[in-house]
């Protein structure tokens, strides 16, 4: 700590250069924080279907291909399956396409049975939902976001489903209540969810009647999940609608992989950024040390050993990189809510801050070592002669 004032003073010897270097490193760590968070979201998707006892059954060939509703009855007969429910992708937005709403038509009894104890809904609002054909339950965060209130009409535009009555893509619902989720890790993903009755959807749509998007099952014994999944798929083998049943987490992974290998792209971008940064910061450090050759010689003259001089240069590099990383990572934290507004389920991964600071230390060592070695090898007499 006693060397900190010296390190700090050295760091600000050329203010403009230091500010620009700090900015470039901070921006790199801002990208690290933001892209790392997105990458983590894609690698560890939070589907709202947590728990090892949940399975998802989709069309074997594509999530966009529907399954016949009759599959529900057959799957319910598989030993070990406790509950089966069904859902279809509604693809909705509110007023403008940027206002994505995760609207799900659900079969109320089976959906809430399968997700028992996962939602917080008042009894009165649940009763109102059950008794209102066009009723919807809206996530309280979404209510707050758009300033909605219970009792109002909710117009939603579906990008897929036209209405049988007039061919319109616009559907109107009644907000009868709100819900929250108990698991805080699911709060982000559920923040845009609107639940409405499957009957309304199925009877109102102009096509696809009697078909469902995917099925969700809860199994009695999670250790039997794999075997049960095989049994379900065996039911529909060689049929026109073969199925693929997998754990909820794997389903979520395959869902996000539809966007391509996002993780690879993000990591490639970060790799390029840090590779460039290595040269930029390394060059700055080298130049800074080169300019201070006589001063380093004076320190050695005063009795600073080679090791201490190396420590000072590395220390300066650490100070620069850690300071910039802290600024960049802090800025990335402030970006998370913005990212969350366009990408559901985004949460700051717990490894972000320690990982970022670890990366900063690694960067500091990489860029600080060459100038530190140069300073260590400095011949005091020659360096002082340069000053004369």
């Amino acid at each position: 700590m006693k060397y900190l004032p010296l390190l700090w003073a050295n760091l600000w010897r050329k203010k403009t250069r230091t500010i620009f270097t700090l900015l470039s490193v901070a921006i790199a760590f801002l990208l690290f924080g933001a892209l790392g968070t997105i990458d983590d979201t894609f690698e560890n998707p939070r589907t709202g279907l947590t728990g090892v006892d949940k399975l998802i059954t989709t069309n074997k060939f594509s999530l966009t291909l529907l399954l016949p509703f009759s599959d529900v009855q057959q799957i319910a007969t598989v030993p070990g399956v406790a509950v089966v429910t069904w859902i279809t992708w509604f693809g909705a937005y509110y007023q403008e396409s940027k206002n994505f709403v995760f609207a799900l038509p659900i079969d109320t009894p089976t959906y809430f049975d399968l997700h028992k104890d996962e939602f917080v809904v008042s009894d009165a609002e649940m009763a109102a939902f059950r008794n209102t054909r066009a009723g919807v339950l809206v996530n309280s965060a979404l209510m707050k976001k758009f300033g909605w209130h219970v009792g109002q009409k909710l117009p939603l535009h579906s990008t897929i489903w036209t209405q049988k009555s007039d061919g319109s893509l616009d559907w109107t619902f009644d907000i009868v209540g709100t819900f929250a989720v108990k698991d805080a890790t699911q709060a982000g993903q559920q923040a845009s969810t609107v639940l409405f009755h499957y009957e309304l959807f199925d009877e109102g749509r102009s096509f696809g009647k009697g078909q469902v998007g995917w099925l969700e099952e809860r199994v009695i014994d999670p250790s039997q999940s794999g075997q049960i999944a095989q049994q379900i798929d065996a039911l529909f083998a060689n049929s026109p609608n073969e199925t693929k049943t997998q754990p909820a987490k794997d389903f979520a992974m395959s869902f996000v992989k539809q966007f391509g290998d996002v993780g690879f792209v993000l990591r490639a971008i970060l790799g390029a950024v840090f590779f460039t940064l290595l040269f930029l910061t390394g060059n700055t450090m080298m130049q800074s040390v080169r300019e201070r050759t006589p001063e380093l010689a004076v320190l050695k003259t005063l009795g600073f050993s080679d090791a201490k001089v190396v420590g000072l240069v590395i220390g300066e590099s650490l100070l620069l990189c850690l300071l910039a990383a802290a600024v960049g990572l802090a800025a990335s934290y402030t970006l998370i809510p913005v990212i969350r507004s366009v990408l559901q389920g985004v949460m700051t991964p717990p490894w972000l801050m320690p990982g970022g600071l670890g990366l900063a230390v690694l960067l500091a060592l990489l860029v600080g070592t060459p100038p530190a070695l140069r300073a260590m090898r400095l011949n005091v007499v020659d360096a002082l002669m340069e000053k004369r």
Binding site: P5, A9, E295, V298, L299, L302, G303, V381, L384, K387
Partner: protein
């Protein structure tokens, strides 16, 4: 007979420049007693600064025995020499060599970073050294805000602060006007006479040499004479 603080016996120093071997000091013998104020004079290239660097432990002789403050510097590694310098010698340079981004007090504190003193003790000692050289009122000023004479006083305070018994000064007045130069030389004389510091200075200035108790003349790597001057 006063105690000897610097002793050179048949000291030879050669430098290698490319493939060329350049002899600088040629079998030098010299004794400097504790409490002396020695002025080293001679033309450029005569070996004055090389001799000063050897005495200050900045460089090692090619051969010969070099004993300073009771320790054989010719046998020390560079790491040992660094530790030795921190405790036994203070340096004053022609161009002050202060850290431009640190204020006067922080500059003086630098050698104390190598001690176990607390921050407050370091600050107090630095201020005491600045007071001794008469520049405590400029403690918070950076080198760019000081005149040449003031900057050299700060450099002398830095050389004194660790209480080294030996001060080596390379052209300490070479960058100063006559008045400032005399003030610095007077200050060095006080440090020598009243505080018992042994001082070795390299100078081209005959007037500067007059402040010393002895002047040594060098030419082509050898000492020409060693006359004792009246102070």
């Amino acid at each position: 007979m006063s105690e000897t603080i610097v002793s050179l016996r048949n000291v030879v120093k050669h430098y290698t420049r490319g493939k060329q071997d350049v002899p600088v000091l040629d079998g030098l013998d010299l004794d400097i007693a504790k409490g002396e104020f020695v002025a080293l004079m001679g033309p450029s290239g005569s070996g004055k600064t090389t001799l000063l660097n050897l005495i200050g432990g900045l460089d090692s002789p090619t051969s010969g025995e070099l004993t300073v403050a009771g320790e054989r510097l010719d046998r020390m590694s560079s790491g040992q020499l660094a530790r030795w310098r921190a405790h036994h010698v203070g340096f004053v340079f022609q161009f002050y060599n202060l850290m431009p981004m640190l204020n006067a007090q922080r500059n003086v504190e630098l050698p104390l970073l190598l001690t176990h003193l607390s921050a407050s003790q370091r600050a107090a000692n630095a201020l005491a050294a600045l007071t001794l050289v008469g520049i405590a009122d400029r403690a918070k000023h950076k080198p760019s805000e000081l005149s040449g004479g003031q900057a050299q006083r700060v450099a002398i305070a830095r050389a004194l602060v660790a209480d080294a018994p030996l001060l080596v000064c390379d052209e300490p007045t070479g960058d100063l006007d006559r008045k400032s130069a005399d003030e610095i030389l007077h200050l060095l004389q006080i440090l020598n006479r009243e505080h018992g510091k042994t001082i070795v200075i390299v100078t081209h200035d005959p007037k500067a040499a007059e402040f010393g108790s002895r002047s040594l003349h060098m030419d082509k790597g050898a000492l020409l004479d060693a006359g004792t001057l009246a102070a």
